[in-house]
């Protein structure tokens, strides 16, 4: 009977209940869409990082680690072939490939741009990184060929088949310059690679910069479980083992590279929680208000129910049920609207490249189209929170109704 009375009272004041419900609906829907988008960004970020720039574990010499930002050629891994062989034998290692990065300049004979040259082993690089998936043109098959980022190609107005003049310091600080044929263009989802990278084979790099057998980095791939936490602990564990095995070298896990991104992702998450909290607070004020109005409008009804033997708790329940139903309706509407948004994002995606155009996102490795992710846990939690808000918001006026003295309420008769 309590449910019947509460439900019919809500129906009687449809507009009032709906207004409150709609505020809640908007809050919950916005949260779900943002959450889905942020999760999508995170997934994309992490996927981009693992597949393009940040392997599970990065192994360098100890001195290189501190100066990695400068891309020096002074601190290679000693006996890298031996190290590579041993690393590949480790249990959780799926693949490993050497890389050496150094600074160069590239010119189309008119303009010159400073770049990072990534020297790779064309045979094994694809076992760790996914450059090939983003490649237009051909892979490094012959001597004297390079791959360059798509934005870089645009900036220098060059395309596949053109020549670039590459210049830079060798390992021994002398200058060198040479012509290279652009064999392919890398259009990846990592702006850093697209804008400032040139990829050449170790063989060419050895000739160009006198590298001999210098390798500054060994990139190691491990299994990639779906859960990010699992992946991170796996990489941390592996980095620890490698550090134990090679005390003279420094192994950094994926987590070291991802720290910043993960922190930003946490901030985004807090931001969306903050947003939904504000909207729910507004909705709660709405519920408090409408139930309070309801209490005063129905003060005679309260009196009658009390006179016929309703206890104070039962009167309270009557109004709390109204708040609960409002919260439930708001939550359900919010989930329905939010699901539409998430469905759109998951199916059609958010084309960040088209939306932002050429604005530089800095080092944040996101590009292309972001696809939303379904998060059923968030949906469940947020709807429970919505119902809880309805409960809490109606509790205050309900207590007031319950505490009314019978004679006071009947004075309005």
């Amino acid at each position: 009977m309590i449910w019947k009375i509460a439900f019919r009272n809500l129906l009687r004041h449809k507009r009032r209940a709906l207004t409150t419900g709609i505020i809640m609906m908007v809050g919950i829907a916005v949260f779900l869409v943002l959450d889905s988008l942020f999760l999508g960004v995170d997934k994309m970020t992490i996927d981009n990082m693992t597949s393009l720039s940040s392997p599970a574990v990065k192994l360098t010499s100890k001195s290189y680690e501190n100066k990695a930002d400068l891309f020096p050629l002074d601190y290679g891994i000693e006996n890298y072939e031996d190290v590579l062989y041993k690393v590949k034998k480790m249990d959780t290692v799926l693949a490993a490939t050497p890389r050496t990065s150094f600074r160069i300049s590239a010119s189309n004979y008119e303009n010159e741009l400073p770049l990072i040259c990534i020297a790779i082993d064309p045979e094994t690089d694809s076992s760790v990184f996914d450059f090939k998936d983003h490649l237009k043109g051909s892979w490094l098959l012959n001597e004297g060929e390079v791959l360059i980022g798509a934005n870089l190609a645009k900036d220098l107005s060059v395309s596949i088949g053109d020549y670039l003049l590459v210049s830079g310091k060798t390992r021994y600080d002398s200058y060198n310059a040479d012509e290279f044929l652009i064999a392919g263009i890398l259009d990846t989802t990592d702006p850093m690679i697209n804008r400032q990278s040139l990829v050449m084979s170790f063989l060419d790099a050895q000739n160009f910069a006198d590298l001999d057998s210098l390798v500054t980095e060994i990139a190691i791939k491990t299994e990639r479980p779906n859960a990010l936490k699992k992946y991170i602990s796996l990489t941390e564990q592996l980095a620890f083992e490698i550090n134990e095995t090679f005390p003279n070298l420094k192994a950094k896990s994926f987590f070291d590279d991802a720290k910043m991104v993960l922190m930003i992702s946490k901030q985004k998450y807090y931001f969306s929680i903050f947003l939904v909290a504000i909207v729910l607070l507004i909705a709660m004020v709405g519920i408090v208000n409408s139930i309070l109005m309801s209490v005063y409008e129905r003060i005679r009804e309260i009196g009658v129910l009390r006179a016929f033997g309703f206890k104070d708790k039962e009167i309270e329940r009557l109004f709390i049920v109204e708040g609960l139903i409002t919260g439930l309706i708001g939550s359900l509407l919010g989930i329905a609207l939010g699901s539409l948004g998430v469905y759109y994002l998951a199916t059609y995606g958010y084309p960040i490249a088209d939306m932002i155009g050429d604005i530089d996102l800095g080092e944040y490795p996101v590009w292309g189209t972001i696809y939303g992710t379904w998060n059923f846990l968030a949906m469940t939690i947020v709807s429970l929170v919505g119902i809880l808000c309805g409960f809490l918001a109606s509790w205050i006026p309900a207590r007031k109704a319950g505490k009314l003295q019978v004679i006071e309420t009947l004075r309005f008769v």
Binding site: I5, E301, A307, G309, F310, K311, V406, I407, V413
Partner: protein
């Protein structure tokens, strides 16, 4: 059989800084099946007396006996428990629950009592609605009824649980004289057939005319107690 006895009932109120003495020592007993009216000018203590008899309020001094059991020192919830079983109310402005149908309004006291099965509740409600002559309106909402019909529903609601006593506060005040007459007739019929006691507070001479006993209050005391 005496169903209610009041002994030296006094009631004082605090109205701002002033103390108001509403009842100054009322002695009264009510028998089963009585149809009695309490009359008196405004401020004579009618409503206070009705509140105390209806267990909506407690006296400052004196004892109320229901069925020979004293009702002193009871909590608000214990009083409401007592009301639930033994007392029903009819109000001047009917006070039906607007979102419930005639049937649901009448069923309400039985549902609150939590003593009856669904089928019992249904049957009892239908029986009493038939007796007040609203069989055809059973699924209607209060807003679809006239004032007289609403008061009939209120009477059915008051009687459905077969209480010891029905308290009616100016039950005819909002009705035209023809409807008021009908309403009094309905109550009198039920008083006879069900043996339920009725107690009115009223200004209406029509009610006074039909009452078997008239208690007149003056200044917080019983001024006269006449039986016809």
């Amino acid at each position: 059989m005496t169903i209610l006895k009041l002994e030296k009932i006094k009631k004082t109120y605090q109205k701002g800084s002033r103390e108001v003495i509403a009842l100054k020592g009322i002695n009264l007993s009510i028998e089963k099946g009585e149809f009695l009216a309490i009359v008196g000018p405004s401020g004579s203590g009618k409503t206070t007396l009705l509140n105390i008899i209806g267990c909506l309020d407690v006296p400052t001094e004196g004892i109320v006996f229901y069925d020979r059991k004293p009702l002193t020192g009871l909590s608000e919830n214990a009083l409401s428990e007592y009301r639930k079983e033994s007392i029903s109310f009819i109000f001047q402005s009917y006070n039906l629950i607007p979102v419930l149908t005639v049937r649901e309004n009448v069923e309400l006291p039985l549902i609150i009592a939590k003593q009856f099965s669904k089928s019992e509740i249904k049957k009892k409600a239908e029986d009493i609605i038939k007796k007040v002559g609203l069989k055809d309106m059973i699924e209607r909402f209060p807003r679809e009824l006239s004032g007289g019909q609403e008061q009939r529903v209120a009477i059915a609601r008051a009687l459905v649980k077969k209480p010891l006593l029905v308290l009616a506060d100016e039950p005819t005040a909002n009705l035209d004289s023809k409807t008021a007459k009908e309403i009094i007739a309905v109550m009198k019929d039920l008083n006879k057939s069900e043996g339920i006691s009725f107690l009115f507070s009223t200004h209406d001479p029509l009610v006074e005319k039909h009452a078997q006993r008239i208690i007149s209050l003056h200044d917080g005391l019983v001024a006269s107690d006449k039986r016809k």
